[in-house]
Symmetry: D3
Subunit: 243 residues, 6 copies
């Protein structure tokens, strides 16, 4: 891996400083502020004692996610989706990704006929909002499940594994872990990877924004992602042990 | 004023602890987290170098506001307005109120043909979100104007006075300042008052939710509001002096 | 109060000619055309034998209002809200105000599990459409209730008091009662006041459109409103006695 | 034609009492209340000094119509289209019909690059609202054109002929002119016919709601419609001569 | 009838080549590609074992239609209605027409509490898409009914007669059968006629786009339509006999 | 690779029969019906001589895609998106994928300030609609570019490489190429891969629907995709050589 100057002298295979603040707000069953450097996402988990129509009477629960970005989370203000009257394609794509990622580690039958809503709202954006959202939403979901276990509502946990996510990309020929906004804008290839605590892939979404990428480049990127996600899962575990 | 037990032993004419954190996020020209007790609203001010159609060519600027509430800012989760595809009547009413309140202290000609967008997003709600939003949005707007002055874009400030807001109400016969959620739910009369630094009224919105209120009760409420807003304006000033 | 020339030589504290025509259309349980000078609003009351979801099984009824303006009720044509696909913030704010005002004088338990819908449609606008709507809607609601009493559906009236509304404002330094469009456009402060037959306040909504207003000015305006609403309630009573 | 008992002893080939009130509201360039028995439609014509995109730069004007029904114009209350957020298929079909009918008698080049908006709002419905709307809209359009001629904005009239409309139908085997609501509900075949002052057809829309209809029945219906429209055009002329 | 040159040397009273391909797609209970010359419409019939709310518990079924046009079915690309977020007035008018035409030959009681959805999607347009859609939808509906009969779900057919449709119009003074796009654009009068196998009218929709039309012209057009629809019904029968 | 029984005796690494029919409709600049077994997608390319706002004045063109599915393209009828008033998240995700894939092989500067719209409409679905759409859209885009070259509008081709796509997945432990609907429903891992003619990746989207997948499984899937896409590109070339 060649030398490349990143902000704060970060190495190519180094995560930004990650902070996970549990209990950030008081009402939700799980409430986590997750920070990947300057990217800050508030993830709340809300438990609802009913399921959407396609699960009614199935004995199974549901886990779903919504994603939003405050209008001035970004460098220039974007329109408020509630005011425009619809969510963008990008927003829908991201919230579908978060939902699938969470469901990949949930045993819906063990959850019972209830829904966990994960709301991921970006307070400040600097690249990697969707991967921060997935990583933080898992912690919020775990807190909510812990409340259900403590209350005796659930006898056993429906969570089968950790799940976390990171972005990787090739910028100026160099594979980088955890892209910031300026890196993301400049990159040729951008890949979001979601993995479980067992080291398996849940989602791999790679996009060549400039030149298409080779099989070798893909392998380098997957390797970087495995390293980063491994570190994120340790951080999730440490955060959940605290308090 | 009769005795009445409020949370934290607060007196009937006492504000909740108010905290104003400037520079809460990094991208916006003004970014303020304001807390009235457990109510927390993020207010950002964004400057845009153009005006809406009704002001084009007028030589005047525009100041406008949008309001939102994160789905789990409240005790139980509410639907996301972006997902439902429209803003509720309540949301629209509040953002129109914030916008009028800000414009009441702005000299739009002195602002020039540019727009200040104030985005007020409730991270956590415990009553009084609209009054916290107005009080915080003023500080964010002042920060944005200071940047325009420092950059030489504006030669003189277009802000003519402070503006701040508080709720007052009658709960069980007792007039109270700065209602929390549980007080707000129980009150007979609820009034939101917006005043300038000069002690004049910008908006008075009183609603009898239970029994209608008399002229005498109204006078008591207005007196309480004057007291509270005076204190809020001192807090705004102190916050703006810092740093 | 200083001298001020109003259209038709009206005094500063004088209402426009008010006309209340009951039975203006034939299908509705209550149908009232109310005129405040050139402002003409058709208010119908429709009884529906069911309630919205939040009242189901509560034993209580509901009273709600909708407001609309014909596209050419005004000097220049405005877009039709049905064609634009949404109601403006102003429309929603007004219909929420009318609904709250009506519910302030209704005993919802005594109404039983049924809904009264009040539709207020402005045929011609010249200022004061929301206050005319409230004043007329009360008469329509009373007619609908009278039909329910006559049919034996209700044993006792759920209406506890009259309710009526008027606008007041300060134009060129002079407090005026019942603003016409040209006065409303020119005014510094505009206040809509809703009161019961017992002389208590249901809603007070004051807005400084130009200069903020003092406590003394507010007192003058409230006094004017009390006088005007007292007269409107007499007119409601006379109208309901007829036929 | 066999005997048939209609309300008010009306003959099978007789129109309901028709009343045309010009100047019903004050702001619009043309404002007509038209009544076909209990059906009452307010038709306003608004002149706008610009044209929609497809006519810009063409030297031609445009004539267009919108149609609405107040929620309680009918026996039972219907949803307000502005609140539902869209116009029904029926509403769109009717307003397209009114617009085409008006354009059929307008010389758009002679109108110049301006638009006449015809708003037809049903205050009370008892069958035949679309035909009343067309018949009344013509009078409103003529009044608006007369204002443009009087002001010298137009040198010559762009109106080439009268236009009026009536419904006909077969109820219980009897062809009837100008169906009321109860007749319309019971009829096998319903036809709306629009004709010019010269006795030519602009629109014929026949629908078999029960049994399909024969060529002979169609001929009877067209004959009835010709008779009724002839009478309506005389009434339009008389109304326009007055005042 | 005067001489007139049509594409392919077609006579004024001659249909374009009509092709009916049954079983065009595999999933639907009925699936028909119908071609009127270059106009190609895919009509599918889908059976659903439930009815819309207004028919629940009535013992009757429902037959309904939807219509769409692929964005590049036409000479220049039109916006996709799903992307714009609403169906045009034209689309709604056409799908209501198709639905009424189908219901005119269905005995809804004999159908039982189930719905037949007819989806008519225009793959390529060259005039007459709505009449092709009606003619093809009948064949698809018949195929779906035949499946229900074969499966024993229905004991007797709910279809009482054939139904088919054609356009007629006057172009340059000449009455023409089955208008192509270039003829349709040039025509003074355009009429769509829907008839049953028994030779009765279900719908007649005539519109004067240029000059209004006389009673004699109308008679000529109806005669042409009768001839064309007779031929279409023979083609429907031949197609249904095949395979 | 273990034995696995697929429909038609297809091998695990074998494509379904692929058919590419150019010129399927007559109006579009490119019009291709592509079939992957029973999956049939109509792809049209429309050239528009202007660009969306974000490209105006840039000297660059734009390539964009829309995707739709006829209501009865599937086993059971789905709602029509135009009638529901919005496109689903799935639809938006797919059309964004198609658009990015096409832009990956286009030199937008060489295209000049014009837009190519690719409309991909699924007539019949049996798995793999998005990969068929990408593969077919490329051929339609090439046909449209060839027309621009032939007309002299473009001097050199803006297309830098072929692009095609295929799905791969693991079903019951066996990696399979080009999944049919029944395989797709049963699979644990589903991956859509888009590659250029040069054998580089444009998009890789892998999703674990059941168990998460290992790095080894990912490598097997990528190998299968490379094989399949290589074959598809040969088929594109053969199709483009014909006629």
């Amino acid at each position: 891996m060649t030398a490349f100057t990143r902000s704060g002298g970060r190495a190519a295979d180094q995560l930004r400083p990650v902070r996970i603040t549990r209990g950030f707000t008081i009402h939700a069953e799980g409430s986590v502020l997750i920070e990947f450097g300057q990217t800050r996402v508030l993830c709340t988990a809300s438990v609802e004692e009913r399921v959407p129509p396609h699960k009614r009477g199935s004995g199974e629960g549901w886990v779903t996610a919504e994603y939003g970005m405050l209008p001035r989370a970004t460098h220039t203000r974007s329109d408020r989706e509630a005011a425009r009257g619809k969510q963008s394609g990008r927003t829908q794509e991201i919230q579908r990704l978060i939902g699938r990622s969470m469901r990949a580690v949930f045993d819906l039958a063990a959850l019972g006929e209830r829904t966990i809503h994960l709301d991921c709202d970006v307070l400040q954006a600097d690249g990697g909002t969707r991967t921060a959202a997935i990583t933080g939403a898992f912690v919020a979901a775990q807190d909510a499940v812990n409340k259900l276990l403590a209350a005796g509502t659930l006898a056993a946990t429906p969570i089968r594994s950790h799940v976390a996510a990171i972005s990787v990309g090739i910028v100026g020929g160099t594979p980088l872990l955890d892209l910031e906004y300026t890196e993301d804008s400049a990159c040729d290839t951008d890949m979001n990877v979601v993995m479980t605590g067992a080291g398996h892939f849940v989602e791999v979404q790679g996009t060549a924004e400039g030149a298409a990428f080779s099989r070798d480049e893909m392998n380098l990127l997957l390797g970087l992602a495995e390293k980063g996600i491994g570190e994120l899962i340790v951080l999730q575990q440490q955060s959940l042990l605290a308090k």
